[in-house]
């Protein structure tokens, strides 16, 4: 820099030799501490490259001496969580369903676990609070297609309904109209009859005797003589106030014409036994459990 060793008259500092329109740049070197810090960061960066994953390669990357990997730590973290949870939930595995409901501490534990599992796995169909939707049963009420005792609920969660699992609940509403078993006017008549079973209003020219006849011939094998349903085959009670698909005439005609066969998947194998147990207790405690 000797050729630029001009001293600025005002500041008494040397200049860099750069000049724009008569304005000369003063040579103001970086503070020593700044430069040293900068060098230190470079050394640090090199160290970082050596010990941590840093450079992309053609297939893969430099893994670094520490072998650190966020993906691997997620796997171990999840495994640790499962282990911790397994320890906490072991008490549930050892207790019977009835015992869990009787013991406040176990009940609270099962409900807490059941609630999160429900939100992850069941809520998409049954709703976040188990309120259900058209075709998806409300789990808060006391009307159960496949039974509402603790054991029955657990059975349904494990193997599902029409899920294809060997132990699944079977039975379906036939398509009386589509398969040509009943004619259109017969379907309307029996739909009105079904409405009358639970005290709902019927069409003005409805023939109750004809309706009863059609019902007895076609429906009682599953729904029972009184229309009270049959949980063995998942046939709903037609005399109560709860309707899975709807109670208006059009919906009933649609149901009788095309049949119904809602599917509940089997959760055995997807959820561990203790979790299924907790889930059964949770669903049972929603309020409708028998």
């Amino acid at each position: 820099m000797s050729e630029h060793d001009e001293i600025d008259r005002v500041s008494g500092r040397s200049t860099t030799g750069h000049e724009w329109d008569g304005i000369k740049e003063l040579n103001t070197p970086l503070p020593r501490w700044w430069v040293l810090t900068f060098y230190a960061t470079i050394i640090w960066a090199i160290g970082y490259w050596v010990v941590y994953p840093a450079w992309p390669l053609v297939s893969g990357y430099t893994t670094g001496l520490f072998q650190y990997s966020t993906r691997a730590s997620v796997v171990t973290d999840l495994a640790d969580l499962e282990k911790l949870r397994g320890e906490k939930m072991a008490v549930l595995g050892n207790a019977s369903l009835a015992d869990i409901e009787k013991d406040p501490a176990l009940l609270a534990l099962a409900r807490a676990r059941g609630k999160t599992v429900f939100a992850d796995n069941c809520a998409p169909c049954h709703g976040s609070g188990g309120a259900g939707a058209k075709g998806y049963p409300n789990l808060n009420d006391d009307d159960w297609l496949w039974g509402g005792s603790l054991d029955q609920i657990m059975q349904t969660i494990q193997f599902g309904a029409r899920s294809g699992h060997a132990k699944t609940h079977e039975g379906q509403m036939l398509a009386f109209g589509r398969d040509g078993v009943l004619k259109k006017d017969e379907i309307v008549t029996v739909a009105n009859y079904v409405r009358s079973l639970s005290g709902l209003s019927t069409a003005p020219k409805f023939d109750a005797a004809a309706g009863k006849k059609i019902f007895t011939e076609n429906c009682t094998s599953c729904h029972g003589d009184n229309g009270k349903g049959n949980q063995e085959v998942g046939a709903p009670d037609l005399t109560d106030k709860i309707w899975l698909y709807g109670s208006d005439e059009d919906t009933l005609v649609e149901t009788i014409t095309n049949g119904r066969a809602g599917v509940m998947p089997a959760w055995v194998g997807r959820l561990d036994p203790v979790t299924v147990k907790a889930l059964a207790v949770y669903v049972h405690s929603l309020g409708g459990g028998k």
């Binding site: 409900r111 188990g130 009420d141 009307d143 309020g287 409708g288």
Partner: protein, 485 residues
């Protein structure tokens, strides 16, 4: 336009540094009324701080038996007979308000009483000064040693001083952590290196801060760091008593002999003999004769020093004393001194303190030891049952703040013919659901209320859950709504 300046005319930083250099303070030992008050207050303050964690208070089985304990893991605060839960932390707001008002009242009555006698910074600095004088000698010896070269003997003394300081600082940090766990157990764990790391970290941090603040920064904390002197100056009024040099009596300063001469001529001589003792004993190194100032923490030590000198020269004591400018002016004018401790300001502060105390006391006396909160199910809001009845689900949380388990019954007032169903409780007691709630804890329950459907009924009616302690008869209730679909 700027004119070019020749390098010789440049203004540089050499005008002086931006910060005033610290004047070393070597306060001289002193004895007297205020010194003994300060010793006693120091013993009380430090005694409370260092030994309070070891005071025991029996609370029954399973509860901690430490009188004062901040139990973070279990989120409880224990203070003798009081046990606070996290949601009752607003009591501390009351305490803070009370502390502020008391500070204001003290200030209105006697100036910086807090600064001079009670502030931890003052108390610990005072202790550290005492240690310093014990090890390195009094003011004179210290000044002499400071001016002279470093000798082995001096280095040894200095080392000893810092060692004692560090021990005090370490004990200070150690006492702090004892408030957060069972003290005897923690002492044992600390000694055997089994205590949690956080305990050691806190001890280290507080050892460092005590050593630094009381040993090295001292009066600089009061002068540069503390906000209170600034606020204090804005809050004070002309009637507040402050440590004051009564210049009406002291001026003009002259030696004892000269004063004698002047007085023998029948003229007025000042009582101040300019002995500088008030400056020598001052822990913040100021001259009180310059009048009220930021650096004066009003510890009263200059009063003791001056009184001692005044006694020696056979003059009336109290040349420096708790006084205010109004009285100085009145004395100059030949009027009687007046003191007005009772004035609007002090009355307002005192009344506010009384009110806050009363409110806090009432809040404390009337706090419920059984409480219940209710939360309505969000989804579904209402459920229709197969027989047409309507059901609402609620989550209820009970709070049992007593130190023993209790049996409570739950009743519901709400829609007509409402039935109550408590998940997990009704199998035992179907008529009136009862549950046991554990001591000093909360319990959550799922509760269902079922009522016949009435089309003409309102869409939403209030529902009240009443819980009754079967043994004690304590009642608590919470209200929510019963909603139709």
């Amino acid at each position: 336009m700027n004119k070019p300046v020749s390098p010789d005319e440049l203004i540089t930083d050499e005008d002086g540094p931006l910060y005033a250099p610290r004047k070393k303070v070597f306060p001289q030992s002193v004895s007297g009324r205020f010194r003994s008050i300060k010793w006693r207050l120091m013993i009380v303050c430090l005694g409370v701080y260092y030994f309070l964690p070891f005071v025991r208070w029996h609370r029954g089985l399973g509860a901690p038996n430490q009188a004062v304990l901040i139990d973070f893991p279990n989120s409880r605060f224990y203070f003798f007979f009081i046990e606070l839960w996290p949601q009752e932390v607003y009591y501390f707001t009351g305490l803070l308000v009370l502390a502020a008002l008391t500070l204001f009242l003290m200030n209105a009555l006697g100036g910086r009483i807090w600064c001079g006698y009670l502030c931890p910074q003052t108390v610990w600095t005072d202790l550290f000064y005492a240690v310093e004088r014990l090890v390195e000698g009094d003011r004179r010896a210290q000044i002499k040693a400071d001016a002279g070269p470093m000798t082995v003997k001096r280095a040894g003394r200095r080392l000893l001083k810092h060692a004692i300081w560090l021990v005090i600082a370490w004990w200070t940090g150690g006492a702090w952590v004892l408030y957060f766990a069972d003290a005897p157990t923690l002492v044992h764990d600390l000694a055997t290196f089994q205590a949690p790391a956080v305990a050691y970290i806190w001890i280290a941090a507080l050892t460092a801060s005590t050593y630094l603040l009381a040993g090295h920064m001292r009066e600089q904390v009061c002068v540069y760091m503390c906000p209170w002197p600034r606020i204090q100056a804005a809050l004070t009024d002309e009637w507040a008593l402050n440590v004051t040099y009564k210049y009406d009596r002291g001026e003009p300063r002259c030696s004892v002999k000269k004063a004698f001469d002047i007085r023998s001529l029948g003229e007025k001589a000042g009582d101040c003999i300019d002995c500088n003792q008030c400056v020598a004993v001052c822990p913040t190194g100021i001259d009180i004769r310059d009048g009220a100032q930021l650096g004066c923490i009003q510890c009263g030590l200059c009063i003791d020093a001056c009184d001692a000198v005044m006694t020696k020269v056979s003059r009336k004591t109290g040349l420096i004393g708790y006084d205010n400018d109004i009285n100085v002016q009145r004395r100059v004018a030949g009027k009687q001194e007046i003191f007005k401790p009772v004035r609007a300001r002090t009355v307002v502060y005192a009344s506010l303190i009384t009110i806050v105390c009363a409110v806090m006391l009432y809040a404390l006396m009337s706090r419920t030891l059984l409480d219940v909160n209710v939360l309505h199910d969000r989804n579904p809001i209402a459920v229709r049952l197969s027989d047409g009845e309507i059901r609402n689900g609620y989550t209820i949380r009970f709070l049992n703040k007593r130190g023993f388990d209790r049996v409570i019954a739950i009743d519901v007032d709400g829609p007509a013919d409402a039935k109550l169903h408590v998940i997990g409780a009704d199998s035992v007691t179907p008529d009136r659901p009862m549950i046991v709630i554990g001591r000093d804890t909360t319990t959550e329950l799922r509760v269902l209320v079922t009522a016949p459907f009435d089309e003409k009924a309102e869409k939403s009616v209030p529902v009240t859950f009443r819980v009754t302690d079967i043994g004690l008869g304590e009642v608590a209730s919470a209200t929510d709504h019963f909603v139709l679909p």
